[in-house]
């Protein structure tokens, strides 16, 4: 069993823990939204080409080395020491571009009764988003 953490989501998949995160293409698409196409790894309008000399390292039949693919796309990766838990983060550049677009990044977080709320639920209102903490 391997566990993938991505944008606050936790996904458990059948798989082998190790020094690389191999998943099948469908799982990659379901977990990350990125799909493997002839053009490369694609999401929305963006495609990141797979260099010819990297193809063998990244793709084997219907399986993808997602940890290497993630690094190829310039995104941060972290793994547990056993290689059974993988955190796939977002690149600083992408975060910075999102902020500079001034489109407030959406999120879904629970209230204290467990009900999820998304920022987009509050469209048509002016929102003061403000943080605090117990610590």
């Amino acid at each position: 069993m391997i566990t993938i953490l991505n944008e606050n989501n936790v996904t458990e998949l059948d798989g082998v823990a190790g020094s690389a995160l191999w998943v099948n293409r469908d799982d990659m698409a379901a977990v990350t939204g990125w799909t493997l196409k002839p053009e490369g790894f694609c999401k929305d309008e963006v495609c990141v080409p797979v260099p010819a000399n990297k193809s063998g390292e990244l793709i084997a039949d219907d399986r993808v080395n997602l940890s290497e693919a993630w690094r190829l796309m310039g995104k941060p990766v972290a793994a547990s020491s056993d290689g059974d838990v993988w955190s796939l983060g977002e690149a600083a550049n992408d975060r910075n571009d999102a902020m500079l677009s001034l489109e407030a990044p959406d999120f879904s977080l629970p209230d204290f009764s467990g009900k999820l709320h998304s920022l987009t639920d509050f469209r048509r209102k002016r929102v003061l988003l403000i943080t605090w903490a117990s610590w």
Binding site: G89, L128, I130
Partner: protein
């Protein structure tokens, strides 16, 4: 409207504060500190003003707080009255600005135009992005019985993103009060030098 978010890994830690405050506004909990990653947040409180179309009008800033932390008086274990008064005045100033914007929208003198809003975005570095990625890993390990491994990951997070008080205080030892304000915290505060604990909000009356 107000959307308040507790940057707290454990709901049990935040719950008593909600019980006492009984907020009438939306109050959420962000166990993985996802907002730190999305909005480049480094401390609490931090605020973002988002207009009715979902556009950022004022990017991440120190809410109604000013940087009085190094005026903490260890002898009285509190702030001197003068510092408390300045902090209260700044909070009142900021609250009044929020109200003005709530009523007047983009006509409010406190709402940035798009260019000014972009100018106030603090850039995230690759190390910070990696710290957020590792923080999520650490939280998962911590909550799945792998505390030692989690603590190693959190140590890496603190090194990668030394300006994040969210990471530092969430992952530091807490006092009996549940607050991470022990020796390690004050040591880090005192080593800030010219760095600010709360970056000054670009608004008249907020310094």
């Amino acid at each position: 409207m107000i959307v308040s978010v507790a940057m707290d890994a454990e709901i049990e830690a935040a719950q008593p504060w909600v019980d006492v405050a009984s907020p009438t506004f939306v109050t959420l909990i962000d166990k993985n500190h996802q907002l730190s990653s999305l909005y480049n947040m480094v401390n609490v409180p931090q605020a973002v003003w988002i207009d009715e179309d979902g556009k950022i009008v004022r990017p991440t800033e120190s809410g109604g707080s000013i940087d009085i932390l190094r005026e903490f008086d260890m002898e009285i274990m509190g702030f001197k009255p003068e510092a408390m008064e300045r902090a209260a005045a700044a909070k009142a100033t900021y609250t009044q600005a929020v109200k003005d914007w709530a009523i007047n929208g983009k006509e409010s003198p406190y709402a940035f135009d798009p260019d000014a809003a972009r100018d106030h975005v603090e850039p995230m570095t690759d190390d910070m992005a990696l710290a957020h990625t590792k923080f999520q890993l650490g939280q998962f390990l911590l909550h799945n019985g792998r505390e030692d491994e989690a603590n190693g990951v959190f140590a890496e997070c603190r090194d990668l993103h030394p300006y994040s008080w969210n990471i530092f205080r969430q992952t530091s030892e807490k006092m009996d009060t549940g607050i991470a304000a022990g020796e390690a915290f004050w040591g880090k505060v005192m080593s800030l030098g010219d760095e600010e604990y709360y970056k000054t909000v670009d608004m008249p009356g907020m310094s």
